[in-house]
């Protein structure tokens, strides 16, 4: 039997099994990633709109232009803000589920967090455009609470404000925080659940008040979970280009820039150079997260 032969020649079997997925990943996926990287050094002629395989650094030096650096800063700033906000909102939920729920209620919370996480991304983005629009639910609700004046004041602030909620940075920030929030809750919950109860007992026996136990035992031990969650919120915001199109002020994001460069302008080299930015940032972030022990919390 051929399969017996294959079992005995285990290296051969290994190779045979591994070939299809390896071909797929090695050739199709990694191959195209490398091809993209190579093209970031190609030359784009502004006049003829043609790409030639003449190697150049010009795409990378162009990244440092004011306009392009602005795009990078704007995107990274938003990603950082979204990450911090997600952590703040996620922590109490994760803490409550991990420490105070059991059985059926724990299952309920788990499903209730999973469902919005897996629910269609484009539908969630769409739902928020409906909610944030002028005359929509949120405006109605704020009006009912008598806070319209306060909202107008907030919208006039520089950087965060805009003409309406759906064209302001607050709106964009809100949508980003919403869509990535479950990615932050779950790792934090997992890391809190992994804190051994004996440690908490020991802390109480030694006379620590609950707040002290929280600060000196639970918080440091669950920090890797926060870092693990932040990998998702940060990297997902960095690469997103749908939400910045739909909600918020007109300024470009890294994602929208990549999309416009390759799509409407046809400047694939510049688009490729721009994609290297999130790759490098995410790479550095992962390296730091690894040192902080976040990978054990995944």
């Amino acid at each position: 039997m051929i399969s017996n032969l294959l079992y005995r020649r285990s290296t051969l079997r290994l190779l045979l099994l591994l070939t299809p997925p390896l071909l797929w990943f090695g050739v199709v996926y990694l191959g195209s990633l490398l091809a993209l990287l190579a093209q970031s050094f190609y030359t784009f002629d502004d006049f003829t709109m043609e790409v030639t395989p003449e190697l150049t650094w010009i795409n990378y030096t162009a990244l440092l232009d004011d306009a392009n650096a602005d795009i990078v800063l704007r995107t990274v700033g938003m990603a950082a803000a979204v990450t911090v906000a997600s952590a703040v909102v996620a922590f109490p939920i994760a803490y409550y589920v991990a420490r105070y729920t059991e059985g059926l209620r724990k299952g309920l919370f788990y499903v209730a967090i999973m469902l919005p996480m897996w629910a269609s991304y484009i539908v969630k983005a769409y739902a928020w455009t409906v909610i944030l629009t002028k005359g929509g639910i949120l405006y109605w609700f704020i009006g009912k609470l008598g806070l319209t004046g306060a909202l107008e004041w907030v919208l006039e602030l520089p950087y965060v404000g805009g003409t309406s909620l759906s064209t302001s940075n607050i709106g964009r920030f809100l949508v980003f925080t919403y869509v990535w929030l479950p990615f932050m809750i779950l790792p934090i919950q997992a890391s809190i659940e992994r804190v051994p109860p004996q440690l908490l007992q020991a802390s109480a026996d030694l006379g620590a008040r609950p707040a002290q136990t929280f600060r000196t035992v639970i918080l440091p031990l669950s920090f890797p979970g926060v870092v693990a969650g932040s990998i998702f919120t940060f990297s997902l915001t960095l690469g997103d280009y749908i939400i910045p199109q739909l909600v918020g002020p007109p300024g470009l994001f890294i994602g929208t820039m990549v999309y416009t460069q390759q799509g409407s302008i046809g400047n694939l080299p510049m688009a490729a150079a721009f994609t290297v930015v999130p790759i490098l940032i995410v790479g550095a972030y992962l390296a730091i997260a690894r040192r902080l022990g976040a990978f054990d919390a995944l």
């Binding site: 039997m1 399969s3 390896l22 199709v28 409550y96 469902l115 484009i122 629009t133 639910i137 990549v258």
Partner: protein, 270 residues
């Protein structure tokens, strides 16, 4: 610690339940607006309730075409991902060999890197290889990240399965294929099913990679994105949004039911 467990302070409960409400609010909004009587506005409160737009949407050629394409792509991508992901998992679950770490890392890349990078690199590769954008380029793009999902599910299951089962089967004279069919496959069945459902839902909903690999084809999420750019058929869009959500959420709940409790498969205690 007392045996009845600690009680949560009221403010913590409030924050946690408030968080849940926040998470579900937009989903409720989508469900409610699909039954809105008004044709062009998002004004709130709603004026009335109707089922009319479901009828209208079910007669729209463009919607039906997009729905059909999305389903076909999801089936093709899931099938590809199931085969490739299972093969990869079978090899990487237990064996030690040179380059194993690198391979494991490679399989995490499409999820760790932003989707736009997967999208644009596939597009540039298709262009370089002169592959015209079509149904198959979309399916290939989707299979790349669906593979990761299947792989993760199956590899987790295989690692929990005691290897002695495979050895016993071999000792009793079963060849590799038989062992796969009678021992490995039944053990992996729910993991495969769950991975497949997850892959299907992911592919059905995918938009970022799709916009790059689709060419002129329009999946349902792309149809929605186009509508958002120039909102003309608001009621139909609301209905489509509801349909997309049901088609992704229901299978996911199923997948969750399937994998629940399998942490305790035979032999996992050791």
């Amino acid at each position: 610690m007392r045996s009845d467990g600690p009680r949560a302070p009221w403010w913590l409960k409030l924050l946690a339940w408030g968080g849940l409400v926040f998470l579900h609010f937009p989903i409720v909004v989508v469900c409610v607006y699909a039954f809105n009587t008004e044709e062009s506005a998002f004004t709130f409160p709603l004026k009335g309730f109707t089922l009319r737009w479901f009828q209208v949407a079910s007669e729209r050629e463009d919607v039906l075409e997009a729905l059909g394409l999305s389903l076909k792509v999801a089936v093709a991508a899931t099938a590809l991902a199931l085969v490739l992901g299972t093969l990869a998992a079978l090899v990487l679950a237990r064996r030690q060999f040179l380059g194993r770490e690198a391979l494991t890392l490679m399989f995490a890349l499409p999820i760790a890197l932003p989707g736009i990078i997967t999208g644009i690199s596939l597009l540039s590769a298709f262009k370089l290889a002169d592959v015209p954008l079509s149904f198959w380029t979309i399916a290939a793009g989707h299979a790349t990240f669906c593979l990761v999902v299947v792989y993760n599910n199956v590899v987790a299951r295989l690692r929990r399965m005691p290897y002695s089962l495979v050895e016993a089967s071999m000792d009793l004279g079963a060849d590799g294929l038989r062992t796969f069919r009678h021992v490995l496959l039944p053990q992996m069945a729910t993991a495969l099913l769950a991975g497949g459902i997850l892959a299907f839902a992911l592919s059905f909903d995918e938009i970022i990679v799709t916009t790059f690999t689709a060419g002129h084809e329009r999946t349902l999420p792309i149809w929605m994105l186009n509508q958002l750019g120039r909102p003309r058929d608001v009621p139909v869009t609301n209905v489509v949004a509801l349909v997309v959500m049901v088609i992704t959420a229901v299978p996911l709940l199923l997948a969750w039911r399937l994998t629940r409790g399998t942490e305790q498969v035979a032999g996992s205690s050791k």
